[in-house]
Structure formats: C-alpha cells, structure tokens
Symmetry: C2
DNA sequence: TAATGTACCCATACATCATAGGGTACATTA
DNA sequence: TAATGTACCCTATGATGTATGGGTACATTA
C-alpha cells in the first residue's frame, strides 16, 4: 500500500488520498478486509495533517469503501469494489443540473439562484463538515 | 411616487427599489400604466448608481411588474397587481430545498453540495447578471 | 439635440467558503 | 500504558461571488 501525494497539485489532498485508495481497491491491490494504515500513521508518512487523512477516511467510510472498527483500526469494506465505482457526486450534479436548467429557462438570474441556494444551505443548518 | 433608500440597510439597494415599487403597486399608489421615473433620474434622486436602478427595473420587467417602452420610458404593467405578489424566488427556494434535503439525507457533505452547485453554475455559463 | 433603455469595459469592498494545519482531549480496548 | 477513531477549539490562505460604482457608447425617437 503506497500512496503518492503531490502538494502542488490543484486536487485537494484529501481527494488524492481517497482516489488512490479507491484505485488500489479497484486494481485489487487492496482486497476486502485488508487493514489500512492508522490515521496518524498515514498522515505522518505523507507529511500531511491528521485531519486531512481523517477527512478522507470519513468520506470513504460514508461511501462504504472502508470500515472503521474503533480502536482496532480501519479496513477495506466487504463490498468495496462495487461501492468505489459509484459516485455520489454524479447524482448530486445531475439533480442540481435539472433544477438550475429549469430556473434559467424561467429567466431566473444566476445571482438569484445563488442567493436562494445560500439561503437554503444556511437556514437548515447541519453540524459538521 | 417616493422611494426611500437606506444605504446602511443590509438589504441590497436594487432590492429596496424593487420592493418599494412592488409595494406601491400593491397599495394602489401606482396604477397600471402609470409612468415611472427614468433610470438616470431616479438614480440621481436617490444618489445611487444608474446601474443599480437599471438592475431593479430589469428584474421588475422580467416579473411583468413594469414595462419598458424604449425611448418613451417605463410604465407599470397592466397585470402588475397580480404579478407583484407572485414570487419567482419562492419556487426556486422550494425546488432547491427538496434537492438539498435529499442530498443531506444521503450523507452528502455540505461542502460537496456547494462544490457540485458551483460546478453546475459555472460549466453551463449564462451571459449577463 | 436631448432623452430613453440598454450594453459593454473597468474596478473595489465585502462576505462566504474550502482547504489545510496546530493543538488538545475523549472513550474504548488490547 | 499505548493505540484506535473521533471531536472540539482556533488560525490562515486562497478562491469566488455580490453589490456597487465610474465611464463610455449605442439606436431610437420626439
């Protein structure tokens, strides 16, 4: 398990970590059940912050690509192969595109769309992230 | 027809202009067909920029609250009373709320939603505004 | 000539947010 | 005791978008 990080890349660090783990799962380098490095360990190896690796792990767990087992560590999810190809963001983008296209067709200003979006995001707050 | 502008209000100036004209229509102070001040005139009276008043007029015309007749000036739309109560933004907000609620329920991060939103807004560009 | 709405260029001040980091602390369990 | 994931505090930087302004110009028509 080796991860290469490019600090100068425009791609966010946590995204680079996510993509490389997913890619390792897809290529078979990481089989279901395989242990992953501890958060602090991987962050130290890559020379980046704990929180950055933790963020990548958190997102990967949400996507059911990895599993965290508390003090025992983190492992590849049993269904990782299927789940690391499905992209939640594609669905989000598709849905938003449908709505925004309709708004623009009704001559709603981009500014107005952005204002309304910001309103919705801020009034119904969510805690983390 | 008098419009009061509060520079220190957080509400944008063009919004204040829009709201007061709509309110004057609703209260009957401005009847259908009544002429509105010229853009440069009103801007001068209020001590604000031409573009700010022009923006308010542009949006009001889109909402069919006013009508511009080229060199002849701007007038209250025949159906202004009905149209100044219907708010396009309510529809936009409702639609976005539905989508965003679904995203959050699927554990999509607010950051991810914002990124996807910005992508959609920027890839399919529109010209003005 | 003068006034109308409209369009384009430029710029600035301000707010919001994503990313990333530094630090500390917690409960759990070998 | 040591390591696990996790949660919270605070900070800084860069990107982006809004609102507003200044200026110039256009075709149209009284």
């Amino acid at each position: 398990m080796e991860i290469q990080i490019d600090i100068d890349d425009k791609v966010p660090l946590f995204t680079q970590v996510m993509e490389q783990i997913k890619q390792a799962v897809s290529s078979g380098d990481l089989a279901a059940g395989s242990p992953l490095p501890a958060i602090r360990q991987l962050a130290s190896d890559l020379g980046i912050n704990n929180k950055t690796v933790a963020k990548a792990y958190r997102l990967l767990e949400r996507d059911n690509v990895i599993q965290t087992k508390g003090y025992r560590g983190t492992f590849i999810h049993p269904d990782a192969i299927e789940n690391c190809t499905t992209d939640l963001n594609i669905w989000v983008t598709t849905e938003l595109t449908k709505s925004i296209t309709a708004f623009r067709h009704a001559n709603v200003t981009d500014s107005e769309i952005r204002i309304a979006f910001a309103d919705v995001m801020n009034t119904n707050e969510t805690k983390g992230n």
